[in-house]
Amino acid sequence: MSTTTTTTHVQGWARTHGISRGLGRTLAVFVPVFFLGTFITFGLRQLSGLSPAHLQLGESATPEKVAQLEAQWGLDQPFLTQYWSWLTSVLHGDLGLSWVDGTSISSALFGRAIISLSIAGLALLIGVTIGFALGTVAALWQTTWVDRAITGFTTVISVMPSFVVGIALVAVFAVSLGWFPSAGYVPISQGVTPWFEHIWLPALAISFDTIADVARQLRSGLIGAYRENYVVGAVVRGLGPRRIFFVHVLRNGVGPALTVLGMKFPNLLGGAVVTEAIFGLAGYGKYAADSAQRGDVPAVQGVLVVSIVVVVVFNLLVNTALVKITPASARGV
């Protein structure tokens, strides 16, 4: 009796220890990523050579006026000082003011980011659900026609760029059939159904890539896990196929698919630029494209830094989940 309690105690210790160690490793990667990413983002102004003076003064710019305006925006400070004061206010949730109209970027971005995040989130959900279903079915029926059909399907959808999928979806569901609105957005406060009707086509458009990659990685991960000796052992001991699948195979074979998910999320967020153009949504991707074309550097930096934060947080979550599901990944295996 006492041995069992000791064992569970040791296992529990090992598990928490593994998680904190996995988290430590993840932080060791993502803290530098955050600082380098924000540094590159902030360096974009220097790189582009743009200044609020050209935007606001236009042709009437004299050197004195330009210098005065740049001093007003704090641009006469040394680069690292500017970076540090920008970063500290970003960490306090203040993304600064737009060069074009002097309005707060944080408040302009907040409403738009919700649109893009709900689309990316729904796309992720679609990608995970369908990807897991296809990958599992293909692995369970490997080398049969079902497997070949799924592999063929994932190959086809992986070569379809998201804007092509988006156009096809608009052409079929919105224009030809007229089942769903082709453009625009309705906030969730006006009802879940209209909200969903507006975002599910764009979400589907950017999810294809994720579906294909998750399905492929899960299939090969599961097939690899089925070949392991402990699975043979489980079969020999007479365990049921369901228990073998969920306890032995899925847990050990799911790693690559989860890792891919962490890497796909930036694409889902980035894909917003294209889908928002197709579906006429005023999300953060459109804000980024418009601001960049106007030369509104702080607004672009605001979008980019928000997306970096979201990606870093998402990857921390995925890696934590990964360590919890497959403890071996904490050891970097």
Partner: protein, 285 residues
Amino acid sequence: MLGRIARLPSGRLGLVILLGVLFLAAFGPALAPYDPLEGGDAVLAGPSSAHWIGTDYLGRDVLSRILAGSTVSVLGAVQVALIALVVGAVPGILSVYLGRSFEWLSLRLVDTLIALPFLVFAVAVTALLGNGIPQAMFTVGVLVSPVFYRVSRAAALTVSRSQYVESALLSGASVGWVVRKHVWAKVLPPLSIALATTMGAGFVVVSSLTFLGIGVQPPAPTWGGVLASELMYLSYQPFAPLVPTLLIMVTVWAFNLLADAIRDVTGDAGRALSRPAPVAADATA
């Protein structure tokens, strides 16, 4: 190696399609029956003997616009991949030889590039830097370079731990000689796979950018731009986007076929690429 690729059915198909696409890129503008920029009277006309795939909202011949736009669309992908190759592979190989601090910094930079939401950055940076073709190619090239960094670094690491490299270094060979003589041969197969995949991916990105009017602005013809202008009139011509769409898809597919064929031909050397590399994988390396 081309011969061995051509002996595989999928490799042959990929090569044939890509040759066709290259032909379009080289001679497309000359083959265009009409001026791609000049509109006509027939606006939004369907396919006819005069206009094989119809006209757009300004009466411009869509076939001519697709043909004239093929150079930018296809060469853009090639340029992106070549820039990415240089920006990625050189530090990738050097990271094994230039000491701890360079290794750490380059690894973190690559992690950062991977974590950036790709398209938003491509659009934003290109537009901020002046919204031209060189800016677009440079930005996208840098953003996709981590693939080359990883592949070349992995191969270089394997070689650098082998005994023949050790013995070469012990007998007084310089690092440059070892890289040229031994490392390069091991890095080449995975790099060529990455090159084919990146051209496919770069092609999608270039099409997406031109679709948004970034890098190449309208009225200059591009495949993405043709798609964008047809999207606005989808309710009049629901099937008009079909031709540029199919062109884009088939080209991407051909690049992927080629990558798979190289992987099959070179055997184990390319295996590493098909596995996903976790962002944190190199943390302690």
